[in-house]
Structure formats: C-alpha cells, structure tokens
C-alpha cells in the first residue's frame, strides 16, 4: 500500500493541470472523461503517492484531499521517576 493517497472533487476540478505539474511522483494525469462542467478532471494514475500535499497546495479550487500513513504512535517502554541525584540510564533495545 502506498504511503499516501489523494482523492479529487471531480465535479469541481477545472483540469488546470497544476497538480499534475506539481506532483514529484508523476502520479497524476487528466482523465479521458469530462465532468459536468466539461473539464477533463485530474486523477491518480499510479499507486505511489507519498501524501506530500504538493498537489493540494497548488490546486486553485481546493479539489484535492490528501491522506498519509498515520505516524506510528510512540508507546513508552519505561518511566523513570523520583530522581534525586544525577543518574545514568542505559537502554538495551531488544526490538532491534
């Protein structure tokens, strides 16, 4: 599964192609189909979206919604409390 995904408000897209130019993955193109306004709308054509938001940043009509992989949440492995003097902590990370 790709790191990111974009969806388009197809009916609002005006086919200006600025997102296509902005995508570093070259993952966007104009559809061969047209929307009700008569524009060829932008679509995702490769499954390698990184969710970088570049396309949405340049989109004049706020057509694009961008998704990206959730950051893995950090769960604590230990909690150190009641420290009254300088201490040194060494962690053997057995996950590695």
């Amino acid at each position: 599964m790709a790191k990111g995904k974009v969806t388009f408000d197809i009916e609002t897209c005006k086919g200006c192609e600025l997102c296509i130019e902005a995508c570093p993955q070259l993952s966007l193109a104009l559809s061969s189909k047209i929307n009700a306004q008569g524009y060829h709308y932008a679509v995702l054509i490769k499954d390698n979206c990184t969710g970088c938001v570049n396309c949405a940043l340049v989109c004049p009509d706020a057509v694009i919604t961008v998704y990206r992989q959730k950051k893995k949440s950090k769960t604590p492995v230990a909690r150190i409390t009641n420290v009254t003097q300088n201490i040194t902590v060494t962690i053997d990370d057995e996950r590695k």
Binding site: M1, G4, K5, T7, F8, D9, I10, T12, K14, G15, C16, E17, L18, E21, A22, A29, S31, S32, Y39, V43, L44, I45, K46, D47, G51, C52, V53, N54, C55, A56, L57, V58, C59, P60, D61, A62, V63, I64, T65, V66, Y67, R68, Q69, K70
Partner: protein
Amino acid sequence: MSPEITQDLTAEEQEQLECVYAKPKTLTETRFHYCPGCGHSVAHRVLMEVIDELDIQDKTIGIAPVGCSVFAYHYMNIDMQGAAHGRASAVATAVKRLLPDRYVFAYQGDGDLAAIGTAETIHTCNRGENIMMVFINNAIYGMTGGQMAPTTLLGMKTSTSPTGRTAETAGFPIMITNMIAMLPGVAYVTRQSVETPNAVRQLKKAFTKGFQYQKEHKGTCFIEVVSNCPSGWKMTPLQANKWLVENMFPVYPPGDIKVPA
C-alpha cells in the same frame, strides 16, 4: 490512457491513512468562478487555510475589491464588505479603527490598489493602519477583459496596449510595493507567489506572519502575490506559470522587502 485509481479509500487505507489536507471550512461550498489555474483561487484558498489554522474565523473581517475577485465574499466564509473600486483600504481603515480587536484585511488587484486606489493605498500605509493588505498582481485587468494595468510589463500586449506597452505612451510598470515599503508606518512588506508548492508554503507563512503582526500592533502588513492570469495572458495555466517565472519575477522579484524590527 493510464489506468485511473479508484477514488474510494480501501478498508486498509481507511485504517492506516489519516487525512493531512482537506478544503478548509473557512471556504464556502460555492464553486470559484475563477478561470482554471487562476492565482486568485490559490490565494483565496491559502488565506482561508491560515484563518482556519489560526482559528480566527469569528474575528476576521475581509474587504473585497472590484475586479475578478469582486465575488470574494461568496467564497470566504467570514464577514466581508464589498468596497467600491480602489477603496478597500479606506473601508478596512474604518472597520479596524472601530473594531480594533478584530483581524481586518483588504484584498485587491492591481487596478484596485495601484491605479484608482493609489491615494487610499498610500495613505492607509502612511497612517500605518494595523491591517493586512493583500495585493494580487497579475499585470492585467482580468474582469473587464484584459486591459493594461499599472503593473503591466513593458512590451506586454493587452487590449489597451495591443502592440505592447511602451514607456512613452504608458509609463513604466509601477513598483507600488517598493514605494509603500518606504513608509515608516508599514511594518511588513513581502512579495510572494503561488505557482509552485514551495511558493504556496511561503505565502502561507507570509499570511500567518501578517495576522500575527496585526495582533502585535506592528503596523501595516502588505503582501503582494505575483500571480498569473491565464485568460488575460492568453495562455494555459501551465504556460502562464512558466511565463510568470521568466517575465514577472525579473520585474517583481519574490522575497521579503521589509520585516518588523
């Protein structure tokens, strides 16, 4: 034709992906009437994103101009006033003076700000009114059909400079932004653009700073956005952005011109 990937998120995608960008709620449901690829649309969107992120939707009042963005109040989900041509900064002055704890911005094009509104522009800046002025400079009058603007480049063909602007007939492109930067009441002057993702990121920072400085009573914040006009320039959006970089930037170079101490 390349296969089009389905719009719908798969079950796996729904579980693993989170939304990192969506249309801000500070834009209304009304579709922009702007031409495909128009810089106004991007500027509107970015400005509204910033208002959303700063959570000041209920405290912001915008003043719309006369020009392509005369309908800005149909798109921006905040209280707004539509001003007469050129007068947005005078209208904004009164609103800010009477409601000093609100965020007030005037949004204008090149004719509005640098032709008919020149006196208001200069004096609003001279008084150091604590507002944000957004100046969309696309070197042409879009709404009325592509006439020359004060910021039209030498040699540029428009409907009122059909053989190309000459200095003898029409003078030089006016450097209004640099002129008002000289005024002591003006705190922040920057020139930005929207033709690449990075440019948009910079503009977003500029708007954010503009509102922050307004909160800090620094003085007038003036943000020029060098923009395309695909219809007026008679180019596709992609061609227009290329032309912008090659021709507009040498005359209107992006960057900070003045920052608060």
